[in-house]
């Protein structure tokens, strides 16, 4: 029975999704106000169940196909919080467009179930299936609005590149299976060193393909081309879910897969790959975001930059202890006299960063969704900076919330984004990645420019004359208030949460 504990959050989400789907068919009522409440309650119950699981000891369950460890449980908890907030944003957004249907929330919950299962999968085929469960749900959500060509176009791009990356991952897994004869990650970890000695070609090509597959999912440069178009074209609440949930789940799985593979390779190989990806992603993400006047597109590039900061944390996890990997900025300078970095600090940093990023990004996209008007859907300037001009006079509450989200994305205290960056960068410095950490700090300083520009427009520019009153619904206000409070509270009092997350150092098999 204990084996099924980790499945409870996902099962809750699936049950909620089925209830919503059936109610859409059998309750033929025009009033669908209850749906968002059902969806939010389901996510909250799943989040509580996941939080409960986080205090279970780490162990392998379901015959080694999955693991129950605090790392995946905290991650599930975060995904559920993100899902609940995106659901609330979506309710207001869809009501305004008269497009609120049960299947929308059902798909959101199915995607969340896929993310939760992906976080705990410990076998390649299980990882592939859960990746597809969450992807197929997100493809449909992206193309959900059928007004105008943009959502369909974004859905198509997301689908082709998502399926492409999934097949890269799968082919890589097939080659690794050929080299070792196993697909479970813990068995792979034992079998891979021998296979790497006898069949290095299979192992290295497999490793590269799996890495490329994940890099597409987390939108690391140079595998990021799809991100801006998909994020811009998808309905804004779906974009929020994508940037918060899909990315976090893919990151957790990436860490799990590569920790299992690192023993078979020379220590510099995974380190240099992740460090190079991190550097390019941080720099390119921020540079590409800078000239954007389209706020939604700017947030898409900003999510690429944030993937770069997270990859910096991942690189810290793989930093060869004591070894000298000399490669310019990527050089490793061990500060702690060659001792291995406490992996727990890195996990804590990654999870805190993901938590802060989840509430911030859902809130930021929520604000974008709030001021979006349905009449603008087919125009190109829907999300132009001008739309934010004078928001402080028109909607002071929203303007203050958006300012908090922008400061958090920029990493300015006292916000969650600042503490997250602090944890990740200090873990990187402890691991000796000084050059990379400095590059990260410089990149995020450069990023402050385009985040603060939104704040300047909101507070210091006069309101345009033709500005009309936006559509208001209580769900949007609840979502924005909750995320804004969470962003500031996590920034002011990170202590308790950080302490819980220290438990996440218990990743199964890698203490």
């Amino acid at each position: 029975m204990n084996d099924f504990l980790p499945l409870i959050p996902a099962a809750t989400l699936v049950v909620g999704a089925i209830v919503l789907m059936l109610s859409e068919v059998f309750l033929a009522s025009a009033n669908r106000g209850y749906m968002v409440i059902v969806a939010t309650l389901t996510s909250v119950v799943a989040a509580v169940a996941a939080f409960w699981n986080a205090f279970e000891p780490a162990r392998s369950v379901l015959q080694g196909y999955a693991v129950l460890d605090p790392f995946s449980s905290f991650m599930t908890c975060m995904v559920c919080v993100g899902t609940a907030l995106s659901g609330l944003v979506a309710s207001s957004f869809l009501k305004h467009r008269n497009a609120e249907r049960g299947e929308f929330y059902a798909l959101v919950l199915f995607a969340a179930a896929g993310m939760s299962l992906l976080a705990l999968s410990n076998e390649f085929i299980t990882i592939f299936i859960n990746l597809e469960v969450l992807s197929v749900a997100t493809y449909s959500l992206t193309a959900y609005l059928r007004r105008g060509g943009r959502p369909a176009e974004a859905g198509f791009k997301y689908f082709i590149l998502g399926a492409f990356s999934a097949s890269l991952l799968l082919y890589g897994a097939a080659l690794l299976y050929g080299a070792t004869g196993v697909t479970k990650l813990d068995e792979l970890e034992r079998a891979l060193p021998l296979a790497a000695a006898t069949q290095p070609a299979l192992v290295y090509v497999g490793f590269g393909l799996v890495l490329a597959g994940f890099a597409f999912k987390v939108a690391a440069v140079p595998f990021h081309m799809w991100t801006p178009d998909v994020y811009e074209g998808a309905p804004t609440p779906v974009t929020a879910l994508m940037s918060a949930g899909v990315k976090s789940a893919a990151f957790v799985s990436l860490v799990r897969v590569f920790l299992a593979m690192k023993g078979a390779l020379p220590p510099e190989v995974p380190y240099l790959l992740f460090a190079a990806l991190a550097l390019v992603t941080m720099v390119a993400g921020n540079l590409l975001a800078m000239p954007q006047r389209n706020v939604k597109r700017m947030l898409a590039y900003s999510s690429i930059a944030h993937a770069g900061y997270l990859l910096l944390g991942v690189a810290a996890l793989f930093a060869p202890a004591g070894a000298s990997a000399k490669a310019g900025v990527l050089a490793v300078t061990p500060l702690l006299g060659g001792t291995a970095v406490a992996a727990g600090d890195v996990y804590k940093g990654l999870l805190f960063y993901l938590l802060g990023y989840t509430v911030t990004t859902v809130g930021a996209f929520g604000c974008v969704a709030a001021i979006e008007r349905r009449e603008d859907e087919t125009r190109t300037n829907t999300w132009d900076l001008e739309r934010f001009a004078g928001l402080a006079q028109r909607q002071p509450g929203w303007a203050v919330a958006m300012a908090a989200f922008m400061l958090s994305l920029a990493g300015v205290p006292p916000t969650a984004g600042f503490i997250g960056k602090l944890f990740v960068f200090s873990a990187a410095v402890d691991a000796g990645l000084i050059g990379l950490a400095v590059a990260g700090v410089l990149a995020s300083v450069a990023g402050t420019y385009y985040y603060l520009r939104v704040v300047v427009y909101m507070f210091m520019r006069p309101s345009p004359d033709e500005a009309t009153a936006p559509f208001r619904h209580w769900t949007m206000d609840v979502a924005l208030v909750t995320s804004a409070v969470a962003v500031v509270a996590l920034g002011l009092l990170p202590g308790p949460v950080a302490q819980w997350l220290s438990r996440a150092g218990m990743m199964f098999g890698h203490f």
Partner: protein, 100 residues
């Protein structure tokens, strides 16, 4: 019995054709078929190795992959239809309304 290497080379060739097709071909449906080709190349690789080792894991994987590919195909085709309805074309080059 056909040696494993033959199946593996065929799978690698299918994978390469699929990958090239996704990157080069301009018709959305053809790109979509190329992605299916890539998935099936992975499938064939799993099966070739499973037969060589007499191991059941690879055979099982193939079944799961087929099921997942079918689900993906359903959603993918629905999206292609939505694109065609909105634009009247499935040429990827003409589906570029968002500016960079």
């Amino acid at each position: 019995m056909i040696p494993t290497s033959h199946s593996l080379i065929l799978a690698a060739a299918l994978f390469a054709i699929g990958m090239l097709g996704v990157l080069v071909r301009r018709n959305a449906l053809v790109a979509f078929m190329c992605v299916e080709l890539m998935l099936n190349a992975a499938n064939l690789t799993f099966l070739a190795f499973a037969r060589e080792r007499g191991d059941v894991t690879g055979h099982l994987s193939a079944f799961f992959i087929i099921a997942v590919a079918a689900a993906e195909a359903a959603v993918g085709l629905a999206i292609v239809i939505a694109v065609f309805r909105a634009r009247g074309t499935v040429n990827i080059e003409e589906i570029q309304s968002m500016k960079h």
